[in-house]
């Protein structure tokens, strides 16, 4: 299935100043990396557990079989693509592409304390 072109109103970041919460410079993006890592780890663990459930139900493999797995060329390419996507997901925060923006706080509102 061809994926439709992304809707810019939904995917483009507005050009606004970055919101930060920590005193140390760079800490916010470091913390975002941690959240991405946690996401990747959780989704992966969930995937592995689901796989184990399915394979066990079908009597296909046991853990020892998993340990001996050797990917084919095609499978290795799939794993590489997944690895690249993982790295991109993790590193996107560093250049500000995933930055947290202010949402244009109205100028006539009282100055809030964050």
């Amino acid at each position: 299935m061809t994926r439709p072109a992304p809707n810019p109103a939904k995917t483009a970041k507005r050009d606004e100043p970055e919101l930060t919460f920590f005193n140390a410079p760079g800490m916010d993006r470091m913390a975002q990396m941690l959240l991405v890592m946690a996401s990747e780890l959780h989704v992966l663990r969930d995937r592995v557990r689901c796989l184990e459930f399915m394979l066990a139900e079908q009597g296909q493999i046991d853990v020892a079989t998993l340990d001996r797995f050797q990917p084919t060329e095609e499978q290795a390419a799939t794993l590489a693509a997944e690895r690249d996507a993982f790295v991109a997901h993790l590193m996107d925060v560093l250049d500000g592409r995933a930055k947290s923006t202010s949402g244009r706080f109205p100028p006539h509102s009282p100055e809030p304390r964050t």
């Binding site: 913390a31 946690a38 949402g103």
Partner: protein, 351 residues
């Protein structure tokens, strides 16, 4: 029809767990820290305690996580809600198909939309609630994890119970109804009334109308109209309501909504706006921060608006401003978890 892929489900469940931990573990620890410094002293002591707490790593993590769990929920490039809905246009079409020929839905493509509604991603909802067919579906999917200590939409069910407890209203307007999360519970309790929900967002209204297909209701209408100038006749309703609408509006518009509520009510009719109201410096500080972190820029001004005076100025009498428990026990003084200070603003149009 495609469900979200397993990875998206797992990711969104993780965000929900993060939110639960933030509200039920991190917030009590933060409040404990604040209470150790401010032992019920003066407002100046409260401000001093807030200034100290704001410099702690605990508060900075609290603020960071509040911002980013919501950002990731919507906008994570791999498993966020926007990416999920963008990739499933057929599924979205099927979900909204019942709205297309619905006799209960009135849309107005020419309705004037305020600039702030286009320009601010309220709740960090990308592009706000206009611009994509799936905006209502995405808002509803996001709303599942807002109130971690309550059942889904429990606050709206309890609000509808309060409405029913007042009297059997005959003609009800629900302003800023969104996808009908409050309109439908009210309609369920008032089967003999005419119930109308209005909102600016066509995608939300389409979802609301599509949701009617799961009910037997024939006494509900949804219309794309502005709560500031709804276009209904003077005295058309005996109850005007909203939930979580006022704090999203500029103060001048809040006053206009109250005047419009007054105009729309018959003499003796009632207004019931459910929203938030911080009590004390600590909660005001947290809501000021929340306003920035969740792109709800008008909230600080609303928090400082004298609502009793604003309702009186609009013409109302018998004004009551009451704490509202979104779940059993939530207004107890020793409630330990994060919660918004839900408050009911209730008043009567004089006979």
């Amino acid at each position: 029809m495609n469900a979200p892929v397993r990875a998206t489900v797992a990711f969104q469940e993780l965000i929900g767990s993060l939110r639960q931990h933030w509200a039920n573990q991190l917030y009590p620890a933060l409040h404990q820290r604040y209470s150790e410094i401010d032992r019920g002293g003066s407002p100046a002591m409260a401000d001093q305690a807030i200034a100290q707490v704001a410099e702690t790593p605990l508060y900075q993590w609290f603020a960071f996580i509040e911002r980013h769990y919501q950002r990731m929920k919507y906008s994570d490039p791999r498993w966020g809600l926007a990416a999920n809905f963008e990739s499933q246009p057929e599924w979205v079409r099927e979900r909204l198909a019942d709205a297309d020929a619905s006799p209960y839905l009135e849309l107005n493509a020419n309705l004037e939309i305020p600039d702030y509604y286009r320009e601010i991603d309220i709740h960090q909802h990308p592009g706000n609630l206009i611009g994509a067919d799936y905006d209502g579906l995405m808002y509803r999917a996001s709303a599942t994890s807002i109130h971690p200590n309550t059942r889904r939409f429990e606050a709206h069910e309890r609000f509808a119970d309060l409405v029913l407890a007042r009297r059997p209203f005959r003609s009800v307007l629900n302003m800023g109804c969104g996808f009908g999360k409050c309109t439908l519970p009210i309609a369920a309790r008032l089967p003999d009334a005419q119930v109308i929900g209005i909102d600016l967002s066509a995608p939300c209204l389409r979802l609301a109308a599509a949701s009617l297909a799961d009910t037997e209701f024939t006494h509900v209408r949804f219309a794309q109209r502005d709560a500031l100038r709804s276009g209904y006749a003077d005295g058309h309703f005996d109850l005007v309501t909203s939930t979580q609408l006022l704090h999203e509006l500029p103060v001048d518009d809040i006053r206009r909504v109250l005047r419009e509520s007054f105009r729309l009510l018959e003499p003796g009719g009632e207004v019931m706006h459910l929203d938030f109201r911080p009590r004390g410096r600590w909660m005001e500080f947290l809501l000021d921060g929340h306003a920035v972190r969740n792109n709800e820029g008008f909230m600080p001004a609303f928090n400082r608006l004298d609502m009793h005076e604003a309702l009186r100025e609009a013409g109302f009498v018998d004004i009551a401003i009451e704490a509202f428990a979104e779940t059993e026990g939530a207004t107890r003084a020793d409630w330990p978890y994060w919660r918004f200070p839900w408050t009911l603003f209730r008043a009567v149009k004089p006979l």
